[in-house]
Subunit: 292 residues, 2 copies
DNA sequence: CGCCGTTGTATCTATGCCGATACAACGACG
DNA sequence: CGTCGTTGTATCGGCATAGATACAACGGCG
């Protein structure tokens, strides 16, 4: 494809980069490109020359990956055409998984987010209630949902016949040192950031109140549309929410972003100034310990 | 803190690793740990010795980072205690941003997801309609929402007085080579994975139908609760959705995962076998090109 | 003024990863 | 049986990064 003069592991999405990790071995964009090239060329040698990188290195790299991720490439030497290599089914699953991670990263980089600073008011398991300028919001903290039986990873998949080589074994993954912000757990009184992805916020007609008991969306705010940044088919709607009076001095208006389709804007008849009701799930709200 | 015998950049979250990228310079867990150590020790020298790494390297690393991210550490030599270093406000913002990325990554690694294979039926801008075993679903493809004026990055922030050193300039970010799956754009007829995060799916009482015009959530499915994996305060509910009859042979049942709070389960009175209505936003649905 | 611990800066060395190269083993095919 | 292009395997050198070390500059403070 392009000129192979490029270096670097993987530019990936926007202003972030993500890689899978298993057993201490990273699987990054470079590895993904290698597997894809093997798939296309039908041989590791062909893939290496296509990518302009060393064949021997490519082979040892594949072996390193296979030590961590299991069989990825079925290699055969001798025979028709001198031999050749094909991707194992698990390699395709791995690539799919990598692409999904990449898509999620791209999404977090490109989808607007609302970040509110607050203090933890209550902690109950992996859920916490945070006191923010717009009132109490609840969200998730900590990395994992199910700590014990991890690797549960749902996967409805479907009628497709692919093997689901997902689980692997995980292997405890020793070192978890130096990340600073430990696991992500918070305690009452901690200063935290409340992150709300604009793609998680549902906009409702203010008049048409939904029966609160009929939905699992907990967080709720009322506000007025302040601005609509129209894209071709997707628009970012910003809603001004009046801060609650907490006696403090910090009573600036807060703007919450919501990403909705242009069609929905039409359907709801949204325009700046309109009163709307916002709603989003606690489980789509992430709590991040604040630096200071 | 721990013993500095560790190496490697940063194990980060679960089975993934992420880093920020600006101007070709990666900001990873190692850098985050360095900045945090500087903040704690009050000097780069102290931070380096605390982390068990070279002081000179730590300094040059900070300079490299500053070339890309702007001022991060205010250094002062001579004077009381011989000098010292303090984190600039933008460094705290950067750390917060890194932590948020980490949190999102950890979330995608630990939150169940539903992946459906389908084929693109229609593309309209960044939105696409995909034909899946359970009918047509719409979701986002491609990395960015606003391509032109990127770096728009909403940020309600709030009354806090922090400077928002977010925007930077981006700088086009040259190389976007070797990722294989280009940008993420799809075309009609493409085989794609439809990724639905369990934290995006809202569960509604089947009886209590919400006026479709009152919400911006587009995707809708009816099904029955098949299993509830209860966590302490957050549970994963799996809902079996009957496949639509498409004349094909692939008519296995599809299970969709939804992450909801235990409290919501109580409130809705959910139990296996109950009919429910699922709802989630098109903008919370990511389309990923399939490998083969 | 000298002490002190820090920030700057330069240089040498160790390490690890990658490309380059070379050679053996393999097995269908002509 | 020889050819062919591939998979294995080993070794060498280049290059980038990090650690180690050394020394100058700085500026409060005793």
């Amino acid at each position: 494809m392009g000129e192979p003069t490029d270096s670097g592991p993987a530019p990936a999405a926007g202003r972030g980069r993500a890689a899978l990790i298993e057993d201490g071995v990273e699987f990054d964009g470079r590895d993904a490109a290698l597997l894809r090239a093997v798939d296309a060329a039908g041989s590791v040698a062909g893939a290496a020359s296509e990518l302009g990188r060393s064949r021997a290195r490519a082979l040892t790299r594949i072996e390193t990956l296979e030590d961590a991720y299991g069989t990825l490439v079925e290699r055969r030497r001798g025979g028709e055409g001198g031999g050749g290599s094909r991707l194992a089914a698990s390699a395709r699953d791995l690539l799919d998984r990598y692409d999904r991670l990449q898509a999620v990263l791209a999404a977090t980089a490109s989808v607007p987010e609302t970040v509110l600073d607050g203090t933890v008011a209550a902690v109950d398991g992996e859920l916490a209630v945070v006191d923010t300028p717009v009132g109490e919001l609840s969200g998730l903290h900590g990395g994992t949902v199910d700590d014990e039986d991890a690797d549960d990873r749902a996967d409805g998949r479907d009628a497709d016949d692919r093997a689901d080589g997902r689980g692997a074994d995980d292997g405890a993954d020793g070192r978890d040192a130096d990340d600073g912000a430990d696991g992500g757990a918070v305690a009452v009184g901690d200063a935290v950031q409340v992150r709300i992805g604009a793609d998680a916020v549902t906009v409702n007609d203010a008049a048409n109140a939904v029966d609160p008991d009929a939905t699992s969306a907990r967080n709720r705010l009322a506000g007025r549309v302040s601005r609509i940044d129209s894209g071709e088919t997707v628009s970012t709607v910003r809603i001004v929410v009046e801060p609650v009076d907490r006696g403090g001095t910090d009573d600036a208006a807060v703007e919450v972003a919501a990403l909705i389709t242009a069609e929905s804007i039409d359907r709801l008849g949204l325009a700046p100034g309109d009163p709307v009701s916002l709603r989003w799930k606690a489980t789509a709200t992430r709590l991040v310990a604040q630096v200071e």
